[in-house]
């Protein structure tokens, strides 16, 4: 026994001696992304999207925590390994000063002017390239359609009609069939910020505690009666949809895609419902930026240009269910998820009452606390069943605190403000 203990220790020493300080791999560009993080999407990005690039790319995905910490560290140190950053608009807007100007790049494609404007981040320079876009939609099992009341149009549904439909569904089938991603990994806060409050109050921040907002929460409380209670555990709605626990659900398109790809005939996608103020929806825009201290700027720029090419954009759509930002005709042989979800997004954004609500802008690293205000409101109102007006008053103070500390002016759909966005 003693001998083997010595053996173990000496092996340990031997191992440590054989390791030198490992050097970086040279001309490889590090693509640091918090998008396409699910492992299958990461694999598809590497094998189908980036394989065609004329050079070496190391595509690494991370959760927001380590992702931002690493980025902060490299920007603070002024050098590092990251060549290209792929992240959401709101995250990129925290580092406006740190990005290289990309307006000189010859992309050879047409990017939507509204998206390019967002990419300037309020400056004269192009801070990031609009890489891919998505949104949130509703998905339903076709069985649920049999219970849809006569005369209701899925493409023009209102929240009240949705509640009625879900009530019928719950009574007729014996159990609640609506699903909502309220788990720890779920994107529930985006529903309140970009769908519920805009649809009811026409605002995300300013009218946070208005009577209209209260009405919206009342509707949601009613909808919750017909929601599968396991929803507080759901992160990606494609799983409960596939298992049949849930027949109708709301989620990010990238988190619904698997259901449409595995059983295309069983599911259909439709726009998010509308409220009294319109059909609030939140577009999601991811961008590509290059840090000023990037180790190999030419290679990074070449990669950024490559990511914007039509073939790459279509390949990205297949890999991630995020849609192109450039002006192209999509091929006919797209996966079912892209076809079904893409059509639902187009219907939603093109509807007469469409009311786009942007992702939070200018919150810096307070984005997490901003989201927490909405999550807390949800937990207190819906899960703890507390008085709506009282909760909104409390949470409005927390919200004001976050907005004031960030000094963030209002963003759409709230009217532009001088100074921090006010909460009435």
């Amino acid at each position: 026994m003693k001998a083997s203990a010595r053996y173990l220790i000496s092996t340990a020493f031997g191992l440590s001696l054989t390791l030198g300080v490992t050097a970086g791999a040279g001309a490889q560009v590090l693509f640091w992304s918090n998008q396409a993080a699910p492992i299958e999407e990461t694999q598809a990005m590497r094998e189908q999207v980036l394989a065609g690039f004329d050079g070496q790319v190391d595509f690494q995905t991370q959760e927001p925590g380590p992702f931002l910490t690493r980025l902060d560290a490299e920007l603070e140190a002024g050098s590092g390994a990251i060549g290209v950053v792929g992240a959401l608009h709101g995250e990129l807007s925290n580092y406006t000063e740190s990005w290289m100007d990309l307006s000189g790049l010859d992309l050879g494609v047409t990017v939507g002017p509204a998206l390019l404007e967002l990419g300037r981040l309020g400056t004269d320079e192009l801070k990031y390239l609009p890489w891919m876009q998505a949104s949130y939609v509703m998905a339903a099992n076709v069985q649920a359609l049999e219970y849809l009341p006569e005369g209701y149009d899925l493409d023009a549904l209102t929240y009240d009609q949705l509640v009625e439909w879900m009530e019928i569904l719950a009574t007729e089938t014996g159990s609640p069939k609506f699903g909502f991603p309220a788990g720890p990994q779920g994107l529930k806060h985006r529903f309140f910020q970009g769908f519920l409050l805009p649809s009811y109050a026409g605002s995300t921040v300013t009218k946070f505690r208005s009577a209209e907002a209260v009405a919206g929460w009342e509707m949601f409380r009613e909808l919750w009666q017909h929601t599968n209670p396991a929803s507080t555990n759901y992160g990606f709605m494609q799983e409960p949809l596939l298992s049949g626990d849930v027949w109708v659900a709301f989620d990010h398109v990238a988190r619904l895609g698997d259901a449409f790809n595995q059983r295309p005939d069983d599911f259909l996608a439709f726009p998010a419902p509308a409220g009294p103020m319109g059909r609030g929806f939140m577009p999601v825009l991811a961008g590509i930026a290059i840090p000023q201290g990037a180790p190999n700027p030419e290679e990074s720029q070449a990669l950024a240009i490559y990511m914007m090419q039509p073939e790459t954009q279509v390949a990205t759509l297949r890999a991630t269910n995020f849609f192109p930002t450039i002006d192209i005709d999509l091929p006919d042989d797209l996966p079912n998820s892209a076809q079904a979800l893409g059509a639902a997004i187009t219907t939603m954004t093109g509807s007469d009452d469409a009311l786009p609500a942007l992702l939070p802008i200018g919150l810096g690293d307070l984005g997490g606390q901003f989201n927490q205000v909405y999550v807390d409101a949800f937990e207190r109102i819906i899960l703890a069943n507390q008085d709506i007006a009282q909760v909104l008053d409390d949470q409005a103070n927390a919200l004001r605190d976050v907005i004031d500390r960030a000094g963030a002016p209002c963003w759409a759909p709230d009217a532009p403000s001088e100074g921090p966005c006010p909460i009435e």
């Binding site: 690494q60 380590p66 910490t69 560290a73 799983e239």
Partner: protein, 286 residues
């Protein structure tokens, strides 16, 4: 409730000792079964789901038996970089093991054998290193590592993990040395050994199993650490940094496969060194 009639029925004479022994044995066996199930049932479910097809993983009811569908496993084996990440994890964990013993064991020895000013404060400070959450420390550490060139190396990450493992190494070795009478050393001195010889010839053989066990502990701490690993390494990812971050947003069947990929090497390692772990508890009980 109505205790009087019940009390009347109780026979007021001592029970045979065997009764109590049997009851005790029942509790003992039940506790063992419970403890084993505590560990084995999750592992079993992990392995079964790894070897099942995606439809079986999300489906219900479950058969509880693996169907040996290798899809999830194959996906993992083909996921580029898993092998390299596994190697990095091992390297960092072994380095952490070595550093924490080289630094921790002398500290433990000093604490157990010498009186010096600030000894109590030192013991407290050692534990204090665990008081600061890594997400807080990771940013300044990463900045410093980038500037000094330690960034993205197994060595740099092992240093951070050593800091995490050191309190345990110090405190475990402290109790090991404290458990060995100083008289043994003194006897060696009277027989002609100097301090170093007495330590190497008398003390070290006695504490070696325990030291190996605390090294194993350092190994597992390093193996399981995620946050620092994912911030401080880029190309030389450890397996946890490589997988855990992506896994919790991945479909269920891949979560299971990834869980297995993380658990299996650690299980094998613990199994290989299990007798040293038992040795540590034996010594600590003395």
């Amino acid at each position: 409730m109505s205790s009087a009639p019940v009390a009347a029925n109780i026979e007021d004479r001592p029970r045979p000792v065997g009764d109590a022994g049997r009851a005790g044995q029942f509790v003992f066996v039940a506790a063992i079964i419970l403890l084993c199930a505590w560990i084995l049932v999750p592992l079993y479910l992990l392995f079964v789901n790894t070897l099942s097809s995606p439809a079986e993983v999300t489906g219900f009811p479950k058969s509880g038996l693996p169907s040996f569908s290798m899809g999830s496993v194959q996906f993992f084996l083909s996921f580029s970089g898993v092998g390299q990440a596994l190697w990095n994890s091992l390297l960092v964990a072994v380095l952490t093991m070595v550093f924490s013993i080289l630094l921790g064991a002398p500290a433990g020895y000093a604490l157990s054998r010498f009186e010096f000013p600030g000894k109590e404060i030192f013991r407290l400070l050692v534990v204090m290193t665990r008081a600061f959450p890594l997400p807080l420390l990771a940013l300044p550490l990463a900045v410093m590592f980038i500037r000094t060139g330690l960034d993205d190396t197994a060595l740099g990450l092992a240093l951070v993990h050593t800091v995490l493992a050191l309190p345990f190494a110090v405190l475990i070795t402290f109790s090991l040395f404290a458990g060995i009478p100083v008289e043994l050393e003194e006897a060696a001195w009277t027989l002609g050994c100097n301090r170093l010889q007495a330590f190497i010839k008398v003390i070290l053989p006695l504490v070696l199993p325990g030291i190996v066990a605390s090294a194993v502990f350092a190994f597992t701490i390093s193996w399981n650490e995620v946050f620092a690993a994912s911030v401080l390494t880029i190309e030389n990812r450890t397996l946890t940094a490589f997988l855990v971050q992506n896994l919790n947003v991945s479909p269920l069947h891949l979560k299971f496969a990834g869980g297995t990929a993380l658990v299996l090497p650690a299980l094998i390692f613990i199994f290989a060194v299990r007798k040293y772990l038992f040795a540590m508890w034996g010594i600590a009980n003395r």
